[in-house]
């Protein structure tokens, strides 16, 4: 009854069951970005990118995202090491708290930051006593970016650290290395790629930050108006500016993603040995 010939139609169906939805999704994912670049190229809109407002937004975006990525690396690397190697109570709870900002809607992140660090906020009042107000400053932009992007770095670095062969570590400890030496001479070199690709992911996320920034830091040219904000408000001025700036961000993001992929494929090759 169930000869191979009878099962063929099923596989024909099955093929399409996989192909059709896949094509649909590919079209959905690729078409908007393609259209954006195509329109920008056709209309010769890239000259908008040299507008003073666009340049100041670009400069601010590069500055703030670099600082927030640096902050994430400096504070996130030790944290990732602790999470990868340490065994302590409530570790799951801590991991949850660290991962949460990534999945939060940006508007929620913005309001949470305001409630914490705003002038009337839980901790903002303390800062106020020291004469520091955070909202509407470049610091607020960096805080918002770090809040939403640093968890990506911690996750990536933690996985990198966890993948280091425990036998190497044991050998090192047997040879009398302490935690710092293990971290410095084994962990960092062996998970360098994970750290680097994590940093790039963090950077792309920081550059793209919008919702939390506009809520928490406001929008002022040269102070808090990053690229995504300039794009959003540029739309009101002219669609051309918005399209040109968007295309610029798309290109930057593609380059960064390519870099990450290169790093990741290298990692896989080395693992094959």
């Amino acid at each position: 009854m169930a000869s191979p010939r009878k099962t063929t139609p099923f596989f024909k169906y099955a093929e399409w069951l996989f192909l059709a939805p896949s094509l649909l999704l590919i079209v959905l994912l690729a078409l908007p970005v393609f259209s954006l670049l195509w329109r920008a190229g056709m209309d010769g809109m890239f000259h908008f990118v040299t507008e003073p407002r666009a340049l100041s937004a670009l400069r601010l975006s590069l500055l703030t995202s670099s600082i927030s990525t640096l902050t994430a690396v400096i504070t996130g690397t030790p944290l990732a090491f602790v999470l990868a190697r340490g065994k302590f109570k409530n570790k799951t709870l801590l991991e949850l708290a660290i991962d949460l900002p990534v999945v939060l809607p940006p508007s929620v992140a913005g309001i949470a930051l305001l409630i914490a660090f705003g002038r009337q906020g839980l901790f903002g009042e303390w800062f106020g006593m020291l004469g520091i107000t955070i909202p509407f400053t470049t610091t607020a932009v960096i805080l918002a970016q770090t809040f939403v992007s640093a968890p990506l770095f911690v996750r990536s670095a933690r996985i990198g650290f966890a993948e280091v062969d425990p036998q190497i570590l044991e050998a090192a400890y047997v040879e009398g290395s302490n935690n710092w030496q293990v971290f410095r001479h084994i962990m960092i070199p062996l998970s360098g790629r994970a750290i680097l690709s994590g940093s790039i992911l963090t950077w792309t996320r920081a550059i793209g930050e919008f919702g939390a920034t506009i809520l928490f830091a406001g929008n002022l040219e040269g102070v808090t108006q990053t690229m995504p904000l300039a794009i959003y408000l540029g739309l009101e001025r002219s669609l051309g500016i918005a399209i040109a700036l968007s295309s610029l961000l798309v290109i930057v993001s593609i380059l960064l993603l390519l870099l990450t992929r290169r790093l990741e494929s290298h990692k896989e090759e080395t693992r094959d040995y």
Binding site: M1, A2, K6, T7, P9, F10, Y13, L114, G118, R119, Q120, T133, P135, F136, I214, A217, G218, N219, L220, E221, V223, T224, Q225, Y232, L233, L235, E236, R237, L239
Partner: protein, 270 residues
Amino acid sequence: MNRPRFCIIKPVKKISLPFIFLALLFGACQSASQPRTLTVYAAASLTDAFTEIGAAFEAADPNVTVAFNFGGSQNLRTQIEQGAPADIFASANLKEMDALIAQSLIADGVSQIFLTNQLAVTLPQNNPGNIVSLEDLGKPGIKLVLAAEEVPAGKYARQVLENLNEQFGADFSGRVLANLVSNEDNIRQALAKVQLGEADASIVYVSDAMTAPELKAIEIPAGFNVTAEYPIASLANSTNAETAQAFIDFVLSPEGQTILERWGFTPVNP
């Protein structure tokens, strides 16, 4: 081992696929015959008043559902230009409306002024900037939040400051704008920053100040104030032309105008 499973799954798959398609088609056809929805794009400052008007309009005709998209008028205009499926546009200024008329996007190219609005200075209850007069807006160190210049309310606010130059000196508006810490995307965002206590002051519509009675307000004398005229129109692409006209008539009716007045607007048909 696997054979019996294939035998069971195969027929089900064969039948179910076309069946699902039919069900989807049928479902889509059915939803088209549902009672109609009127989509209204309205300036952010109209949020409370229009929500109430919408509810009153729905109560009068149970077959109609009114769906709102509130935002900065300039944003709404862009959305309509990009083909957003709206039936009605209510703008906080003539500029955005005229732009749509010029592109033949407004039905018959006609809009109607349905209310006017004026501006006021609003401050948090505890007044952290210690502002007691309009002139204090120019004190250094004040954190002023305005709607962006592209937003109608932001443009009016800057006009008011220019007008005040007459009284407080030619550099007054410049000094005030030096205190600007954020250009908000719509006037309700600016109001929210004052409500949160993050901004020391903002210049908003009188009607916005009315929605936040917990805030302090400083009146702007009529001689320096700006009168914003709000036009309303149905869109050329509307698929509910009759219902749209009925809604506009309702807004202009004594009942609609009373609701607007209650929210701090100045009615045109008192």
